[in-house]
């Protein structure tokens, strides 16, 4: 069995929920975590009580609970996506400058974000397509990307047109430079950094097959 083949941990590509389950499993117990809007939010469904993870929301709360339902819904208690949420015992509220000091000050262990593109050196593009006439909206994406100790990206590897979202150099406007440490996709988990891209595991393909899809050199990550 070659090293490349041994990276394959699933016979099929991973669906969104399986990927969310994997990200959740990789979060160290006791971590403080911010989950971005969209696909990353799914991760919260798979965090276990034993992990004791504290979720941060940029609009001023630590200890965020699951989405609010029925009579729990309270217009004063929402998450960054403006969805009504709940508060867990031990939660705290703080104003916006403190909330972003928590990010920028390096106090968050992990943030999980979606992306349009990630470069070989961990540059992130996830806020703006740069299309003429598009209304730019950045929110807290740049602050999260620069502030968290680890920035995980969750995305499909390929665009609808089949182009790799892991690229040599981002063509979309950047969110942050060299900030992404790990990329979870349906076809593989990539580790990014100053030395390029390594592959931790593949799903439904071999490293060689993966390399055919991705235009940057891939090597197997040290076990």
């Amino acid at each position: 069995m070659s090293i490349a083949t041994s990276l394959q941990t699933s016979t099929t590509p991973l669906g969104r929920d399986d990927l969310a389950r994997l990200v959740a499993k990789d979060i160290a117990p006791g971590s403080f975590v911010n989950l971005g809007i969209g696909q990353p939010t799914l991760v919260s469904n798979y965090l276990t009580e034993e992990q004791d993870i504290t979720l941060h929301t940029e609009n001023g709360m630590l200890g965020m609970g699951p989405a609010a339902e029925a009579d729990q819904i309270d217009g004063d208690l929402i998450n960054a996506g403006k969805i009504p949420v709940t508060e867990l015992p031990g939660a705290s509220y703080f104003h916006h400058a403190d909330s972003f000091a928590i990010m920028r000050g390096g106090h968050l262990d992990i943030c999980v974000l979606g992306a349009f593109q990630v470069s070989a050196t961990g540059d992130l593009a996830n806020w703006h397509t740069g299309a003429p006439g598009a209304i730019p909206a950045v929110g807290g994406a740049m602050d999260l990307a620069t502030g968290a100790k680890d920035v995980f990206v969750m995305m499909t590897l390929l665009t609808r047109e089949g182009a790799s979202k892991i690229v040599d150099t981002c063509t979309y406007p950047l969110t942050g430079v060299g900030c992404v440490t790990r990329v979870y996709t349906d076809k593989a988990v990539f580790l990014t950094g100053p030395d390029g891209v390594t592959v931790r595991e593949t799903f439904g393909c071999t490293l060689e097959e993966l390399q055919e899809l991705v235009p940057v050199p891939l090597t197997a990550a040290a076990a």
Binding site: T57, E58, N59, G60, M61, D71, Q72, I73, D74, G75, D76, L77, I78, K82, E87, Y93, F94, H95, H96, A97, S99, F100, A101, M103, R104, D123, H128, G133, I135, P136, A137, V138, G139, G140, A141, M142, D143, T146, G147, P173, L174, T175, G176, V177
Partner: protein
Amino acid sequence: MLNFVESVQEAVAGIKDGSTVMIGGFGNAGQPFELIDALMDCGATGLTVVNNNAGQGDHGLALLIKEGRVRKMICSFPRQSDSWHFDAKYKAGEIELELVPQGNLAERIRAAGAGIGGFFTPTGYGTMLAERKETRIIDGRGQVFETPIHADVALIKALKADDKGNLVYRKTARNFGPIMAAAAQQTIVQVSEIVPTGGLDPENVVTPGIYVNTVVRVPAAGNAAGTTEKVA
């Protein structure tokens, strides 16, 4: 000078054309809808508005934009599924946009209230939002110089005020309230309840009354969950 007034109309009466107005709230949470409605009715125009967003749906800030009262928005996230009034004005070239990463927006507001002349931050370094801004390498990281955002007026919402103007907020409706209260020349607050001096535990006061100029009581719309939000 601290004033307690009877109506939101009275509270906003001094706002002049061309003012820079900070408006609290993140989405609808903490947005002082009644004060914004009163600002609309008072006719002030040519405003620069500082808010995280650029209005949702057909109420509050969105209406102020629709009616052409806002010359410029300073915000982090203008585009939303229901930001149609801003979208239309922007596409028509009828509103100026200064887009600021959310943490930089918060810290620039905080800096104004704290008398800070500016700060270097890694947020935005190497991106188009840092173009033409001064940069430095500090502690091995690229950082961007950002300046304070001052305002003539802040309109914010809190849960309770006491007779000294001390404020407490409710849950994530706190958001920009405390920093905007400090950054504006005139801070106008709508609260659900006014309590006598001594009615708030000093240990729990979030915004000290020194930052507050005008307080008006707007009874909460209220629902089973005790929200102070107006139903959208």
